[in-house]
Every structure is written in structure tokens, then in C-alpha cells.
Symmetry: C2
């Protein structure tokens, strides 16, 4: 298809120009057939070190390894929070959770007794893409509000199939759109049923642009694998569960290939936060990173991330560029020919220069690490300064003044504090934080109010 | 080449039969052209987590990643000691260091004032292959005795170019055969000069079977990179050094391909022991493994290991089979048509069923973890029992009775002791250890006597 080819080359040139700062323009994308589909596969509590291509010795992930071999694997990709609800809010809004009220120091996620959810005023990625004519579906765990007015169907998704909050919150129902299908959900079948739904959605929408948000229930504890995978991995039940997720990814990629959609579908695989270390061997591994879920040490927020788009993303590339889940918001909207909302702060940056280049572009230069509504650390280039450190769960709060400074590219395990040698870096990060605090407007938390409690 | 092809298929069939336990035969290999060449690239203090394909976020190893993509990457491959001298003795003799006297509790490696070295009675891999008509060379760090009678040229190597002991031992000379070329060695040029020598050796011996033992000087501290690599990696000087080693591997593979030797050369890349953690950011990373160099925790002895032999070893395979550096001894001798010495205990097992199969064969079922001449732990299948634990350097000695038991396939980071739940496993490992101690003959240590001290 020469026209398609020409289009792709044009995109590359435009991206290159933007990357070099020569032009600042918005992509204008024409007919449906040229706009990419988007699939975001979002696992729950998967650690940085839990995939074969990220170095796990006994978990086998041939499908994700193949996805990485055909696409781009990120090594410094972050979620925007170290626990579930705020992380998901950030992915779908392109904004730090503090801006939407989707975080709290006292109740870190939504619970079955929570009264609220993601505010209607937020423009979700689904809404933004729907406005561009995309078919949209959410298949999997939502956790942004389970009362009807907060469900995916009220936030831009045409359809929804999945569980409304974490699988350890009882009773956890399985829903289709706004109806409960079964309660409690039969968890051992969830990954397979989600996958079947996902393939059905892809096939049904093969002739129009679509956005599939596919947030898996696992490997969040309690772990469940289907009969086909249970007891089959060397890594125990956790490995069985991750290997079933890997199988699911393979099914999705195969469905795309069968439908001849590979070269016009951007698939991104990543996770909401780091491994739940307090669950011992039922939790995952952050590999060489420090700490896990719940923490603003790297293990809590740096995630495995793989982007796949054959013909557009080079094969076998490894990118050390800073990137976050929020950047997927901005990038997908831009690639779809849309505009990110201009009436609010959007934290996501367009990382298509990374994705469509060789993985070395640096559109993002910093990232903020919140625990609840408290800013605990900030990253600037290779540097990370911690104002406050503490384990993901329990432990003591340690305040650092001056902040504890690490060079994450030299010292990814955050072992060697080097602030004394780099006062100029500490000063620069202090400036970055001050600027961030000055422009920040934080609405009241949406995670604290409970049903019946002064509603 | 149909004859060659037929031969390769025959080897595969024989291996498969051996793997299935149907036959136990020795390989008989005919003309020179059919016997594989062997190259063992052995780095110094490289950690399990230090390569791109083992999950390091900022060290770039495209050549090793390619080698893994074209060959087999091991995830449970061990050295036979956690420090330099005994580890090298084991690789070259196929025997635990305790059997050759090449270990000691008081002096863990050879020093410039050491009086002895690897005993003449040992049959090195070079000697065994030389007996099969192989040309042999040692290029790099020896560390098995620097007095003339212990040098590589007295242990089966036709030629030697390198340093006789560690690069932090002063003055560290560079030698050719038995002559000192320069003293101290110009360390920043070593990797490049070794590589040039290696390529020269390969090209000079393209028409006869050869064995190149290529033990690099780095990334042992003090770190030196050439001007070309210094300051170029994101991981600081350690990354520069590892990336130069990666470049060297690429040069070797390219030379083989240029000489059309790829399909008849088995190249194995691994390291002598884990990362030197007490060197802070100048030391490497064991990834998700516990501890490092000097320790019998996994970080001290589990190594990155990649085997490459296009057409014989399947592409992109990952093997979780237990294997050790000692197995290279037995495997190479067998593949060369030779016999391992039958007048002594050889610990190496033939892992060609792993290499030439799909990576799932299990010719090795256990491994012993010595610190000096003290057995501290034993592995049996997925289980590892520690009799004694302590950090690689300093720290307190902890004796465990009953032993501290871990399932390394479920818990590779050795976090969750589970002996109480598995008394039958502890009993089986106790039996294995008893049997090992009964058959063990340990000669006096060769590492303790100093020059002039009662010599």
C-alpha cells in the first residue's frame, strides 16, 4: 500500500522535526484506515523483574518476549502511583492523581464502601478517542468507582466486561456494562474470559478505529490461574498466573495478525504498580529495583513496558527514555488526530518521538513520585531526590532535608546516596518541585468519603 | 554441505537418545572438519543482572543480546566458587576446587606472594583438547599461579597473552607466554588488545580445531575502559567497561562469521563469580539475586551464561536447567571426541543434551556451594539448603541446624525459608551432603604457602 507507506513516512518526518524542536505542529490524520488502533494491556501488581525479557530466571513469557523482540522494551517507564486506583486514574486522564482527587493519604485506593469515583469532569482517554470516532471497550479491572455513575460506561467506554475493584475485596462481582453477571466472580476463569472478550472486540471492530483498555485482574493477590496453567510454571502459582497473562498477550497479538491489523495497531503492555512484596512468594519481584508496591522507591513505580506496532516501531529496540503511563494518554490522542484538553494541566507528554524513533528521544525530563497526596520524590534526568522515604507497607517515615539524592542510571537499586557531591542537582530539583507546587491545584480527595457517612 | 548436515543430524539424534536415557554411548567424532571449535569467554566479577538480556536497565549489551537471540541463555548456571582462583581452577579442571587444593579458608585466592598454583597432576581442558589435536590459547587473566611452572603454557595452552593475577594486585604485568611484556600492564588497552589477539588466533587456526580460553580482566575493580568507551554509557565507568566487553564479544562472533566458522564453533560466555558489591557503584549487580562475590548466596555464584553455536544450538532458547562451569569441561571434551580422565572424580557433567536440545534436559541435579574449603550450601533440584550463611565480605557467620531451606525456582531471591514445611527435602539433601563428604579427598591447599615462607 504505497499511500499508507507515504503516510507512515510523513509521520516519521513530522515526529523527527518535533523531536528536534524545529516545528511544533499537531498531527492531522485523515481517513479512518490510517488512524492506529490502540490496545493498552495493564496488569495488576506485576514487578519490574517478573518477565523473561526483564530477567526473571524461572517465569517463562515467550509471548511478551516476542512482543519485545518485535517492538520496543522500556527500562525507565513509570506508573503515576504505587497503588491501584490513583495509578489507573492517571493512565486514563493523563494527569497526576493529585489533580483529579483520585488519591489520599488515609485511604490509598477505593474500597467497596467508598462513595465516589473518577469525577465526570475528567476527560478520559476513552472519551477523547471516542470524540475522534473510535470504538472503545474496557475489559478487566476498573477500580475507579463502582457506583453506576462512575463505571466505564459513564467514562467513554462503549462496553465494559470485568470486575469493578480489586479481587481481594469481597464480594467481587463480574460485570457486563452496568449489570452484575456473577457474584462473586469465578476468578480462575477471568484471564481466559477477558481474553475471549478482547479477541471478540478486536474482530468485531476490525474495520474501524478502536481503543481497547485491557486491565487484567492479576497477578494481584489472591492468585488464580485456570486449570490449563495451574501448577505448570516453575515459579509456583505466581508464575502460573503470569504465564497465563503472557498467553493472553499472545492471543491478542495473534488476533491482530489474523485480522491483518498488526501494522495499524499500537499495543502497549505495562502494569499499574510494583510487586506486592508483603505477600511473600505470592507477590512478584522488582528485580534489581528497591522495594515494591506502595512505595516511592523505584520498585513501587517503575514498570515493565513493551510497545508493539510492527512497521512503525522498530524491532528489538530497548529504550531508556523516561516515560510514564500518563504519556500514553497524550500520545494516543495525538496519534488519533485529537487534541488533549487545553483547559487543565495534562501531565502526559507525547512520546511518539521515542516510539517511532530509535528509542533515544527524551520528550520527558522529569517525573513526580506521590504517595497518596504527598509528594515524596522527584526525578529529573538521571537523578532522583527523595524528600520522604518509607517502605511500601508499614515501616518508619524518614524525612530527608536535604533530600536523599541518587543517580538512577548509575545506581538503579538506589543504594548510594550522593547528594553531598551534587548540591547543584539538589538545587535544580528543589526548583522543579517548587514550580510544580506553585502550579498545582489539588481538589478534595475522592477516595475518602464512604457510603452512608454523611453522603 | 550435505555430509556436514548429515553429521549434525546424527549428533542431534544421538543426543536425543542419550537425553531420553535410551542409550549411553560415547560420541565418536571423525575428521577435524567435523569437530567443533570451543571459545570460552570468561568475565571477571560480572553480576547476574548486568547484561541487557538479563534485565539491566541502563547497560547496553547489543552483542550479547544478539548472541542470546541466536543461541541459548541460561538462567540457573553456576560457577564453582564465589571468588576468582578457585572458580577458574574448577572451570579448567572440571572439578570442585576442593579436589585440586585450589581453595582455602584463610587465603581465598592466589596473591603475588603466593608460592604455588594449579598442580601439574590436574588435566586441564586445554590439555585434554590438545590430546585431541586442538590448537589452544589462553588470552586474558590467568590467576592459577604466576611462577613459570604454573603458567598457561605449562597447562596445555600453546600460547598465552594476558595478566597472571587480578588487576588490583600490584604490580600487575602483561605477559606473552612466559615473558613479561610490560609492567604494570596498561589496563585501559587490555580489552582491545585481548580482542585483537583473539581474532588473530581465530583467523590463524581457521583450518584446524581450536580452543580459545578468553578470560577477560574486567569488570574487576579497578575499572578501565579504552578512550573509545570511557564516558559513553549511562551506567558510569562500570557500564563503559561492560559495554566494551560486549563490543569484544561482537568482534569475536564477527570474526567467526567472517571465517565461516560459526556453525562449527561453540562459544560460551559466562563469568567467574558474582558482582563485587563492596565496591559500591564500581561493582556490578546480581539483579534479583541475594548478595554477590565472595558469598554462597545465589548472587555470589549464579552467573549470566550464553551459549552460541548457530545451526546446532536453537535460536532464542532460554534454559533453566542446572549447569555449571565445570560442565563445560566435560561437554567440550566429549564433543571433541575425547574422554574425561577416569582416574579421578570429575564433577562436570555433559550438558550437550541441554545445549543441543530445547534447553529442558536435566543432566545435572545438584551443585555444592563452597566458601574456601568449607561446604556452606547444597542445591538439589529446585532446593537449596544453607549450612552456613554470611555476607561475601565481613559480616557474621550464621550456622544453620537444621539447614536453611529455600526453593530457588519459586523464590530466586532466597527470601522465604521453608525448611519446616519440607523435612523430607532436608533429609534428602543431608544424604546428598553425606555422600559427597564420604567420597571426597581433599589435598592440602595450594593457596596458603607464600614465597620465602618455609618454601
Amino acid at each position: 500500500m504505497p499511500a499508507d507507506h507515504l503516510f507512515r513516512n510523513s509521520i516519521r518526518i513530522v515526529i523527527a522535526l518535533i523531536a528536534f524542536g524545529l516545528f511544533r505542529i499537531d498531527l492531522v490524520v485523515g481517513e479512518d484506515s490510517q488512524r492506529p488502533n490502540f490496545i493498552i494491556i495493564f496488569t495488576d501488581d506485576l514487578g519490574y523483574g517478573d518477565l523473561g525479557c526483564y530477567g526473571h530466571p524461572t517465569i517463562r513469557t515467550p509471548n511478551l518476549d516476542r512482543m519485545a523482540g518485535q517492538g520496543m522494551r522500556f527500562t525507565q517507564f513509570y506508573s503515576a502511583a504505587s497503588v491501584c486506583t490513583p495509578s489507573r486514574a492517571a493512565l486514563l486522564t493523563g494527569r497526576l492523581p493529585i489533580r483529579s482527587g483520585m488519591c489520599s493519604d488515609s485511604r490509598r485506593v477505593l474500597f467497596p464502601d467508598s462513595a465516589e469515583g473518577l469525577p465526570q469532569e475528567e476527560v478520559t482517554l476513552a472519551e477523547a478517542l471516542k470524540a475522534q470516532g473510535y470504538a472503545t471497550a474496557c475489559i478487566g479491572k476498573w477500580h475507579l468507582g463502582h457506583h453506576p455513575e462512575y463505571l466505564p460506561t459513564r467514562h467513554g467506554f462503549d462496553t465494559y466486561f470485568g470486575i469493578p475493584y480489586s479481587n481481594d475485596m469481597r464480594p467481587c462481582p463480574l460485570m457486563r456494562n452496568e449489570e452484575v453477571l456473577e457474584e462473586p466472580a469465578e476468578q480462575a476463569t477471568l484471564t481466559a474470559r477477558y481474553t475471549e472478550e478482547a479477541i471478540g472486540f478486536i474482530k468485531a471492530h476490525r474495520d474501524e478505529p478502536f481503543f481497547l483498555y485491557f486491565p487484567h485482574t492479576f497477578p494481584h493477590v489472591p492468585l488464580f490461574a485456570s486449570d490449563r496453567f495451574k501448577g505448570t510454571s516453575k515459579r509456583g502459582l505466581y508464575g502460573d498466573v503470569v504465564e497465563e497473562l503472557d498467553w493472553s498477550v499472545g492471543q491478542v497479538l495473534e488476533a491482530l495478525e489474523e485480522c491483518d491489523l498488526g501494522d495499524r495497531t499500537l499495543v502497549v503492555f505495562t502494569s499499574d504498580n510494583g510487586p506486592w512484596l508483603t505477600q511473600s512468594e505470592r507477590g512478584g519481584s522488582a528485580g534489581l529495583l528497591r522495594e515494591g508496591k506502595g512505595s516511592t522507591w523505584e520498585g513501587g513505580m517503575r514498570e515493565p513496558a513493551i510497545a508493539w506496532w510492527p512497521g512503525q516501531i522498530g524491532a528489538g529496540l530497548v529504550s531508556g527514555s523516561l516515560a510514564t503511563t500518563m504519556d500514553l494518554y497524550t500520545t494516543c490522542i495525538r496519534l488519533a488526530g485529537g487534541e488533549v484538553p487545553s483547559d487543565r494541566v495534562v501531565d502526559g507528554v507525547d512520546i511518539s518521538s521515542v516510539l517511532l524513533g530509535d528509542g533515544t528521544a527524551t520528550p520527558r525530563e522529569h517525573h513526580f513520585f506521590y504517595r497518596g497526596s504527598t509528594l515524596q520524590a522527584a526525578r529529573m534526568g538521571p537523578w532522583k531526590a527523595h524528600l520522604i522515604t518509607r517502605p511500601g507497607y508499614g515501616g518508619t517515615v524518614q524525612k530527608h532535608d536535604p533530600p536523599a539524592l541518587y543517580n538512577l542510571e548509575v545506581d538503579p537499586s538506589e543504594k548510594y546516596e550522593i547528594g553531598e557531591e551534587h548540591p547543584e542537582v539538589l538545587a535544580a530539583i528543589a526548583g522543579l518541585i517548587e514550580q510544580h507546587r506553585e502550579e498545582l491545584t489539588a481538589p478534595p480527595s475522592r477516595l475518602e468519603r464512604r457510603v452512608g457517612a454523611g453522603e
